[in-house]
């Protein structure tokens, strides 16, 4: 049975939202830790 087109779009967009947000958040954590470490050293 084929899936309704709007149902498919909605499920894809939900996955895209969840996965993209997770990926960006992981990259954010990487960058913020580097920045805070560099900044901490500079301030010391």
């Amino acid at each position: 049975m084929s899936m309704n087109i709007w149902q498919a779009v909605s499920i894809i967009s939900a996955w895209m939202l969840g996965l993209s947000a997770t990926a960006v958040f992981i990259l954010f954590l990487r960058d913020i830790l580097v920045i805070l470490r560099i900044k901490g050293k500079r301030d010391d």
Binding site: A14, L17, G18, S20, R30
Partner: protein
């Protein structure tokens, strides 16, 4: 006080933990800035992933979750195709044409652009328009609504507690605190909405049931909404090109490439988020038809209510945190911008003596508090708050759009009188337009706006909505600019 749901202890722990967590983070980050650039622009070192988080979460507050979902609830997919999608075009223009030009000129704030291009008078007008636009009234009102619907609190109390948390960490930590909390808020709001989509659709039998039972107009790209109304929606997107919080992100970026990439990736996330809101809103319509939600449920609340009904305990707490997060990330950013408008843009250039960074940070903190307090009182003592926000958005766009864009793209036209006349005509015409329509028109409950009806002698009827303002104000601002340019032949460009 009656809340929509009974929260489990896990849900309550998640909500309390989140609010406490962001305040602690703000306190911790408050020791990390040494000068005004550190406080207001996070040292200008923000990378693309950090910018994505703060851009997406700042723009998408409860107004999207509640306001945009109302259109999808009432009209269907036009909420996405007619309203949200055209605005991505402006994001694209901003990413590809504006970001690099603005970043490379080393500005600190939007009004500062006007100062350098046209001098202090135009800058002053831009600073006032930016301050009024950035007042967090709509966001605090949204906090009150969510606190009332979901937690059962009095709206004023809810806004004071939840908005107060955002105020505390913004005052203490500046853009560092805003950016870091924005990232957490970004993650929460995206994940919880992504989880809510399949659950809400599943609750009503998916799109198969919706397509079989909703009016066919719900599945037409532009629905039953007249094309001219879609055009008006699109025009509201022009404000993206002069968004003070967006400009602040550009100035705080590590380099032009970071902000361009962040904007481009942000469009993917905004698109997914908008469609998720549209899908849940349509599921809510189905739920109302099936009796799962009351038929008279307010379209504003429908997305919240169907999501909360669909999610299991624990996830409900996370979803509520996601909703609060969407709003906190908006309140904090605009408070900071409004605070800096008072300190950096209005006070500093007119101070009689040199202002140190320490004094400027203190002044900005006071400005943040002032903007929050004004926003709070406007939110609860001004009846037609949404109309006020549309007016202030029109005021900002009408005042600064023409001088800023022409100044960026046509350096030879940066003449003081051109900028001033453009800003003054834009500002005055916006006030006059709204004043005349408000005074002579009548408020339409059906359309939620004031309309001035003119019937000509030959019987032709014209309905002029307040939302049409920019159709008049932007051309007038453009004419003002060129008149000023012609009259200002004598002076050198700044």
């Amino acid at each position: 006080m009656n809340s929509l749901i009974t929260l489990s202890s896990v849900d309550i722990a998640i909500i309390v933990g989140y609010i406490g967590g962001v305040i602690v983070l703000g306190v911790w980050l408050s020791r990390r800035h040494k000068n005004f650039d550190d406080y207001f622009l996070a040292g200008r070192v923000l990378t693309a992933p950090i910018l994505v988080c703060t851009l997406v979460s700042t723009y998408y507050g409860i107004d999207v979750l509640l306001g945009d979902s109302e259109l999808a609830y009432n009209e269907g997919i036009v909420g996405f195709f007619g309203y949200s999608m055209p605005i991505y075009l402006f994001y694209l223009v901003a990413a590809l044409l504006l970001a690099k030009r603005l970043k490379n000129q080393g500005f600190t704030s939007l009004p500062e652009i006007l100062m350098r291009y046209y001098g202090p008078n135009t800058q002053m007008l831009g600073a006032i328009a930016s301050f009024l636009y950035s007042l967090p009234a709509l966001s605090l009102f949204g906090f009150g609504l969510v606190a009332h619907v979901v937690l059962g609190w009095e709206p004023m109390v809810g806004a004071a507690i939840l908005g107060g948390a955002a105020l505390v960490y913004t005052i203490l930590g500046g853009l560092w605190a805003v950016a870091v909390t924005d990232a957490i808020q970004f993650f929460m709001m995206c994940i919880t909405l992504a989880v809510a989509v399949p659950l809400a659709l599943g609750k009503v039998g998916g799109y198969e049931w919706l397509e079989a039972n909703l009016d066919p107009g719900y599945f037409q790209f532009f629905g039953d909404v007249p094309i001219w109304l879609v055009l008006i929606y699109v025009m509201t997107g022009l404000s993206v090109l002069v968004e003070p919080a967006f400009y602040q992100r550009i100035f705080s970026a590590k380099n032009a490439k970071s902000v361009r990439n962040a904007m481009l990736f942000g469009i993917v996330l905004w698109g997914s988020y908008d469609w998720a809101v549209t899908a849940i809103a349509m599921a809510a319509k189905g739920a109302a038809l099936q009796g799962i939600l009351p038929m008279d449920v307010h379209p504003n609340e429908a997305v919240l209510r169907i999501s909360v009904l669909s999610l299991p305990a624990g996830l409900v707490g996370l979803f509520i945190v996601g909703v609060l997060a969407a709003e906190m990330s908006t309140v904090d950013s605009y408070c900071l911008v409004a605070g800096s408008n008072l300190s950096y843009d209005i006070y500093k250039p007119r101070a009689m003596k040199n202002v140190t960074d320490e004094q400027l940070i203190r002044m900005t903190r006071i400005g943040v508090v002032i903007s929050w307090v004004i926003g709070y009182f406007v939110a609860f003592y001004f009846e037609r708050m949404l109309a006020l926000w549309v007016f202030l958005s029109t005021l900002l766009t009408s005042t600064v759009l023409v001088p800023i864009l022409l100044g960026i793209f046509c350096p030879d036209w940066r003449k003081p009188l051109a900028g001033l006349m453009s800003a003054v005509t834009g500002l005055v015409s916006a006030i006059l337009f709204y004043g005349i329509v408000e005074w002579l028109g009548t408020f339409s409950e059906e359309n939620g706006t004031t309309i001035l009806t003119i019937i000509t002698e030959s019987g032709i009827r014209y309905d002029i909505w307040q939302e049409y303002a920019m159709l008049f104000t932007l051309p007038l601002s453009l004419i003002g600019f060129f008149v000023g340019l012609l009259l200002d032949r004598g002076s050198e460009k700044l």
